[in-house]
Amino acid sequence: MAELSLVLVTPERTLFDKPVASIRVPLYDGSAGFYPGRAPLVGRLGIGELKLADAGGATESYFIDGGFVQVKGSVVSILTNAATPVSELSRKVAATKLREANAERAKTDEEYAAASRRLEKARKMLALAGKE
């Protein structure tokens, strides 16, 4: 069977570099799943949950904040600004962030774009944290 390995890097450190069985990433417009033998791809990531399963079937989840994914041969590289294990997300913090984001009033287009991005991030974080 073909192999698949995942490299997860943030500007601060390499979080992850090990073989996995399958990966699910949040792309800019929805989810995408990768199995071994995926054709080469470069894609833009959105905000959401990165889920990976190893050969034994155990799964791990990370909350990631945008970035890029590159599939090349058997290596999937994920570059993201920040990645947090879902187990470390707290519902309370996410809810506060959502409240803050909701309270913001944007005046210009740029502010609006930034504010809606923060809002989306807070919503997704809350949705993920709620699962635990």
């Binding site: 890097v9 943030t10 601060e12 791809l41 470069v42 833009r44 600004n81």
Partner: protein, 291 residues
Amino acid sequence: MANRRLLVKRLKAVRNIRKITRTMELIATSRFKKAMDRATEAAEYTRKISEIVGDLGRANLKFSHPLLERRAEEKRSVLLVLTANRGLCGGYNASVLRQALAHIRGLKEKGIEFQLEVSGKRGIKFLNYQKVPIQKQYTTFEDQPSFAAVDELGARYVDDFIAGRIDRVDVAYTQFVTSSKQFAVVESLLPIASLGGGAETKSEAGVDYEFLPSAQEILAEIVPAAFRAKLFKCFLDAAVSEQIARMVAMKGATENADEMAGSLKQQYNRARQAGITSELAEIIGGAAALG
């Protein structure tokens, strides 16, 4: 006798200083290792970014992005100066500030307006003394700058540059080459001169990538990401270099203190011996006079 007591006092003082400098050297060494590890980990991200840029290059794409364009007329610029919060690190701060001042002089001659942003108490103090107006100052970047904090600056520069509020961004910092070679430079970060990675990827066999959503959109996203990674690297380089500079300076200070303690001890011993000799001479002289 008074001379001898003075020597003992000085010897004690020197030994105390040696203890302090030695401790500072050890602290700097351990911080240097941590900062170095972070810089190595960050290099991985930069490498991946330039790999993707290289991939994009093969997709027959015209590289055009607002951040890559050099303005015909540069009127407003930002100079970011990265210094340390603390001294006692040899010529580290001085050499960065010297570069920064030379750059400021150049900007003034060309009539380019500039905003000065300074990180580190040392730089702020010095430039205030030189009466150069500072627009923004940061003292929160220590030996482990976080990406989130640096990213705030980066995002602001990107926005200002695209909106045309600034025409260039330069950073004065200490570049880290190897652990025995670092030097202060003024580097121009915006407009981005080259994304890097273009030449090295040519040798690889071309891989046909699928681009989601499209190569052009990925480029639009990756150029700012490359800039932020570069800015972050400046902060990391500065942090590593600071620790090295402090390590070297403190090592020198410890060795000096050792030498000084040695020579003071010698002087003290000589003074003591001279005292004993003169006392003996007095006794013998006295005995001879009696006899």
